[in-house]
């Protein structure tokens, strides 16, 4: 059948015909090959225009149609329908855009006509190769997904639900309602936003067809119109919906106070919270971030933030119990812990770290361990033995006893405590503190036998025979390393630091009498500090600390060094002992040393001391106390069942499970790690206890989770207004009084100091997991272990109603927001005016202390902050004029008519129903309207009338002069802008953003609810700034769009999809990995690739890559594109046209 083309060019009034000589184009086209009829007409899209095409198809037997008019995005479907009505397959139609691409963009008429001809020729040449395509229909899933449950989302969901379709309503906050529910009143009718909003919220949650998914986000959308699948991430609320009764007891006891987002940060809320009393769902929600950095930094992972918050609430017993979940010796660690937690404390970004260790001590000091409750213990019949009662052994005893095991401690020395008792001097850790805490552990039912030396009095075999299922070796590192210099071993008066401290601590008779003696302590660690300071307390007249490197390299803690200096300990740095000098009586009379200088760095990066030749000198001394390190005493090691040890004598244990070479023997603490801190020993004790528990139950140790993942970064932001506050300091006794006294050097915090210190905690983790809420919840609705869940739903269509963000005016520093406490944004003003807001609905201003205290006498309201501003947003935010009018009214009504209100506007835009009337009413109420944008808000007064006020400096453009208006309060009508995550959300749903950042509609006038993705609609302020009536109307419109698809149940989809010619395909499979939808499969039998038409979307990735040309997109085949191009080029080369 020969090809007969009908060509039509539209005048579009004068839109096209004003530039393009349409009759000339029609004449030109009429002369082209295959063209049977060529016409021009005023409005091709009008009914007569379409009728003309239909008639010509019949009269001239046309089998192809080309229309040159506007963009095919506007009217392609119109003309395709006309063809279909006349019996012509709609794909035998082609359109040339001679308006958007020619007449509107080409100023010269000759040029425009020429270009129109070339585009017409291109379309005509292309349409020759068109084939009729079958229309494809797919079923539409009846359910609808609505994203965002502000007023738009709620309205759309209710409309759809009312038509008996199921709606999944996804809201990212903990409550539905959106911005509208934050407002006080709504203009112009002054309806209370809550009064008209909360019934909708209740309708939503009660409607059987609406499945509300609050605190959830859509993470992925796949599929196509009518057949979408959405993946939804449900964030954990940590409170069970349906069980929570909303009573609020949990919030009453929660110690963590955080700024309330709902109140725009003007008020506060607890970590367990509900946005506002009428929130829907009523279920509370716990705000958890990653665990605070202090918790992660603590080797024992003590819940630092938790106990600090409990101390703040004066719940000392609970605080100590929380500490004791991870640290069985709170008073001890509260004194001697090197507090690695404080190094990570984020308060140091503001001023300095919170005094965590001292607060722990404070809490422990408030509690009587003799009466502290023992947790209920479920006994079992297994028993374990612990060798050594240092911090590691005591932790194992404490943990396993709580799990119900019979625990027996064996201790070589006369009393329990290990190094805590025998190594740490009393002035740092009083024995009474240790006794009380060990007493508590014994009270739990742990038994102990002292003066039993392992290996000598009892062996591993004995323990096994006595029925101990597992043994923990926490024997510590009790030996002092030798210096290895001549005279060290044989001279009396050389006493290693460990023994020296032990004897001093136990006030043993063999303690050397140092009264009036000169003592040299060798070493630079904490033990050396202890030895030196104890020597001073025992009456030594001079104590010299000899260290071979410089002070910077000393391993001792800085405060120890500082306190030692205060006690007149002499430091001799860069000095290396080489010989002990013996007096004739065999006692020490001096220490020969040489001077050193820092040399090359060694393995640990510290510079190795080099001896300076000829620098020998003698330190005059009566006693020498070496403190250069400790080692493990392994003399107990039983030949019958020897434990594997390292060359340094430490016990070798699996670092995860702390199991030794003998399966039922576990080991930890200094005995395994070498000398380390108390808190490291406690951490090791926990690890061993966990492993031993599994071992005793006969379970595999592989399942042991050694490290709780605390590696967090997602912490609460440090509040902007966080002002530096000095860290509380422990009061230390005067150095003069310390000299000969072993009483504790520092007294703990006073209660006031402790509370002030707890206030400095930034609550990095949000919820502190103190579990107070769990205890308070009668309904048992709280579950701190809840985790994120995901859910997949099938829907036919999607409505996006994600709303807007209010622009943060801080960067516009001239308006003083953030600098002056009484400059507020519009949303903040709404909260101040709202009955559920921070002021209970009273319009108050902040006083010097930042509290809302007294009403303003004058207020300036500034329009267009960030809107209609080429430096911010060029668009008008549309609602601010009316909102500002509402504020003027509310101030006059609530504060009183005497209040002076100044409204600075550029233009008043009161366009809606009842808006202009409301404007008039506000004018009559006495608000002073000033036409002019405020240039600056300042507090720099130039006269007594301005003193203490904020001054709005503006030009009154009606008077033509500059004015200064002193006011008490300023309200900035900040711009409405697109959501910060609009780009990423848009990408999930295939919706583009406009230049203003809002979601882009398909057409600004004719498709304001549609998007580039079919079946995805937009409603409300996510499309552009809108007031409530427009938002609700658009939501109902979007609901209607979704319903029209859902109720018909079928939809026509693009026939433009890929096809692989089986006769050409060589089976190279190049296309298969390229397909973004995995729509191409390889047919193994025929050895060719095949397109699954149900999945293909027609992007043509395959066609672009196919080497043989077998893969082609229907309607966009190579011959179509080539023909279009050739037609175009022919017209350029032969402007006169040819047949």
């Amino acid at each position: 059948m020969s090809i007969r083309i009908g060509f039509y060019i539209c005048h579009c009034g004068i839109n096209i015909a004003g530039k393009v000589r349409v009759t000339e184009v029609a004449d030109f086209a009429g002369k082209l090959r295959h063209v049977a009829v060529a016409r021009d007409y005023r409005f091709m899209c009008s009914d007569p225009g379409q009728a003309m095409i239909e008639k010509d198809i019949h009269d001239y037997g046309l089998n192809r149609v080309v229309v040159a008019s506007c963009s095919p995005r506007l009217h392609e479907k119109t003309f395709q329908s006309a063809c279909r009505r006349a019996g012509l397959n709609p794909y035998l139609f082609q359109m040339a855009s001679v308006r958007e691409q020619v007449s509107w963009v080409t100023p010269d008429a000759d040029e425009a006509t020429g270009k129109a001809k070339s585009l017409a020729a291109a379309a005509i040449n292309r349409v020759v190769f068109h084939h009729g395509l079958e229309t494809r229909e797919v079923p539409v899933h009846p359910d609808v997904l609505v994203v965002g449950a502000g007023i738009a989302g709620m309205q759309a969901a209710l409309d759809i639900a009312a038509a008996d379709h199921r709606v999944y309503l996804v809201e990212k906050s903990s409550t539905i309602g959106g911005h509208m529910l934050q407002f006080d009143k709504t203009f112009p009718t002054l309806d209370c936003a809550a009064c008209i909003g909360t019934p909708k919220m209740v309708d939503v949650v009660q409607h059987p067809n609406i499945k509300l998914l609050s605190y959830s986000e859509v993470t992925e959308l796949s599929g196509y119109i009518g057949n979408y699948r959405a993946k939804i991430r449900r964030l954990p609320r940590y409170v069970k919906e349906g069980i929570c009764t909303g009573c609020g007891e949990c919030a009453a006891v929660c110690p963590v106070i955080l700024p309330s987002e709902w109140d725009e940060g003007l008020g506060s809320r607890k970590a367990i919270y509900r946005a506002f009393p009428q929130a829907v769902p009523i279920t509370f929600c716990i705000d958890k971030n990653d665990r605070a950095p202090c918790v992660g930094a603590c080797p024992a992972h003590a819940n630092v933030q938790g106990y600090i918050q409990l101390i703040k609430q004066k719940k000392y017993k609970e605080a100590v119990q929380l500490i004791m979940e991870r640290i069985p010796l709170p008073g001890v660690l509260g004194r001697v812990c090197p507090h690695p937690c404080e190094l990570e404390c984020r308060r140091s970004e503001v001023d300095s770290a919170v005094a965590i260790r001292d607060l722990k001590r404070f809490a422990a000091d408030q509690v009587d361990f003799e009466t502290l409750d023992i947790p209920p213990i479920a006994e079992n019949d297994k028993k374990i033995a612990i060798i050594g009662s240092g911090p590691a052994g005591l932790t194992v005893a404490y943990d396993l006893r709580q799990k119900g095991y019979g625990v027996h401690i064996l201790e070589a020395r006369p009393e329990l405590g290990g190094m805590l008792r025998y190594g740490i001097p009393d002035y740092r850790l009083p024995q009474a503190v240790l006794d009380a805490e060990i007493g508590y552990i014994l009270r739990m039912g742990v038994t102990a036998r002292c003066n039993v030396r392992f290996g000598l009095d009892i062996t591993l075999k004995d323990l096994e025979q006595e029925g101990y299922g597992a043994v923990f070796m926490g024997i510590g590192a009790q030996e002092c390393l030798k210096i290895g210099i001549p005279g060290e071993a044989e001279t009396s008066g050389v006493l290693d630091a460990i023994r020296f401290l032990r004897e001093a601590n136990t006030k043993s008779e063999t303690t050397p009498d140092l009264n009036g003696k000169k003592v040299a302590v060798i070493g630079g660690g904490n033990v050396a500090m202890d030895a030196a300071r104890v020597a001073r307390r025992l009456g030594a007249s001079r104590v010299t600390l000899v260290y071979r490197r410089t002070e910077q390299e000393m391993p001792a803690y800085a405060d120890e060094i500082h306190e030692a200096r205060e006690e007149n300990i002499a430091f001799q740095f860069l000095t290396l002992p080489v010989r002990v000098i013996q007096a004739p009586d065999g006692h020490v009379c001096g220490l020969e040393c040489v001077e050193t200088r820092p040399g090359e760095p060694d393995a640990d990066g510290r510079r190795r001391p080099e001896i300076i030749p000829g620098s020998e000198m003698i330190i005059d001394c009566d006693w020498i106390i070496p403190a250069i390190g400790q080692s493990v005493d392994s003399s107990w090691n039983d030949a019958a069942c020897p434990l594997e040890c390292s060359p340094k004598n430490t016990i070798i244990a699996n670092p995860k499970t702390l199991q030794t070479s003998i399966p039922h023997v576990f080991a930890g603490g200094d005995a395994v790690s070498g000398p380390a801190t108390v808190v490291d020993a406690v951490a090791a004790g926990h690890r061993a206890a966990e492993a031993m528990d599994l071992f005793l139950q006969g379970l595999s140790l592989d399942s042991l989770q050694t490290e709780i993942p605390y590696s967090g970064q997602r912490w609460k932001e440090i509040p902007v207004g966080c002002t530096p506050k000095a860290r509380a300091q422990l009061s230390c006794r005067e150095p003069a009084g310390r000299g000969a006294c072993f009483a504790e050097i520092s007294s703990g915090f006073s209660e006031d100091a402790a509370h002030a210190e707890t206030e400095r905690c930034l609550n990095c983790g949000g919820c502190c997991e103190c579990m107070e809420c769990v205890r308070a919840c009668a309904a048992k609705a709280i579950d701190h272990t809840m985790s994120e869940a995901s859910l997949e739903v099938a829907v036919g269509t999607v409505i996006l109603a994600t709303g807007f963000d209010l622009m943060d005016p801080t960067p516009l520093s001239r308006f003083g927001y953030g600098a002056y406490p009484n400059v507020f944004t519009s949303l903040e003003f709404e909260r101040i005016s709202n009955a559920t807001g921070p002021t209970g609905g009273k319009i108050l201003m902040r006083d010097a202390a930042g509290e809302f205290s007294k009403p303003p006498e004058s207020v300036a309201i500034l329009h267009c902050i960030g809107s209609r501003d080429v430096n911010c947003h060029e668009y008008c935010s549309r609602v601010c004029c009316m909102a500002a009018l509402k504020y003027t009214h509310l101030i006059k009504e609530k504060v009183g008519h005497h209040t002076r209100v100044y409204d600075f506007y550029i233009d008043m835009r009161c366009f809606g129903e009842g808006y202009e009337e409301f404007y008039r009413r506000c004018q009559e109420e006495g608000t002073q309207f000033i036409r002019g944008k405020v240039a600056e808000i300042t507090d720099r007064a130039i006269g007594p009338a301005e003193t203490g006020k904020l001054i709005a400096i503006a030009e009154d453009t009606l008077l033509g002069k500059c004015i200064r208006v002193p006011v008490d309060m300023v309200v900035l009508c900040s711009a409405i802008e697109a959501r910060k995550d609009a780009l990423s959300v848009g990408r999930i749903f295939g919706v583009n953003l406009g230049a203003d950042g809002f979601f882009l509609e398909e057409h600004p006038k004719l498709g304001p609810l549609n998007t580039a993705t079919e079946g995805v609609f937009i409603a409300g302020a996510c499309q552009s700034p809108k007031d409530i009536p427009d938002t609700v109307a658009q939501a109902s419109g979007a609901a209607a769009k979704a319903l029209s698809l859902a109720s018909r149940g079928r939809v026509t989809v693009q026939s433009i999809i890929s096809w692989i010619d089986p006769d050409i395909c060589a089976g190279c499979q190049l296309c298969i990995p390229l397909c973004p939808y995995s729509a191409i499969e390889f047919d193994d039998r025929r050895k060719i690739s095949v397109v699954n038409e149900a999945i293909c979307k027609g992007c043509g990735s395959c066609a672009g890559a196919c080497p043989s040309g077998a893969a082609q997109v229907r309607h966009f085949r190579k011959e179509h594109v080539f023909a279009e191009f050739e037609g175009m080029m022919d017209a350029i080369c032969n402007p006169g046209g040819r047949k």
Binding site: K115, R987, A995, Y1077, G1104, F1125
Partner: protein, 139 residues
Amino acid sequence: MEAFEPAIVAFVCNWCTYTAADLAGTSRLSYPKSVRLIRVMCTGMVDPQYVLKALLEGADAVLVSGCHPGDCHYINGNFKARRRIKLLKEILPRFGFEPERLRLTWIGASDGIQFAEIMQKMVAQIQAIGPSKAGRMAA
């Protein structure tokens, strides 16, 4: 001497650059008539043959333009185009064409102003290079 009137063919994707061209039209932003658009569904379907054919048949330059990275209506078609255009530019000199005669841009649906600006600049650039010496028109 009067600047020559280059013939520039632009293969533009339906979702972004074609829409931007519509927006440029609606906003009455004029640009030289020598740019002519051929609509494709996605830049990912632009076969290298399209470009070569256009240049050989007389176009002085070819523009391929699609959605911004990450915005592709078909997930990642624009990235495929980017790879192809990169390779194509390398082999163009063997056909006697300067690589500057082929250009790839991202012009989003709301970038009407950018569309008109890029068209103006591109025409000026091609005018500076001069007419294609290897295409049909030169023969």
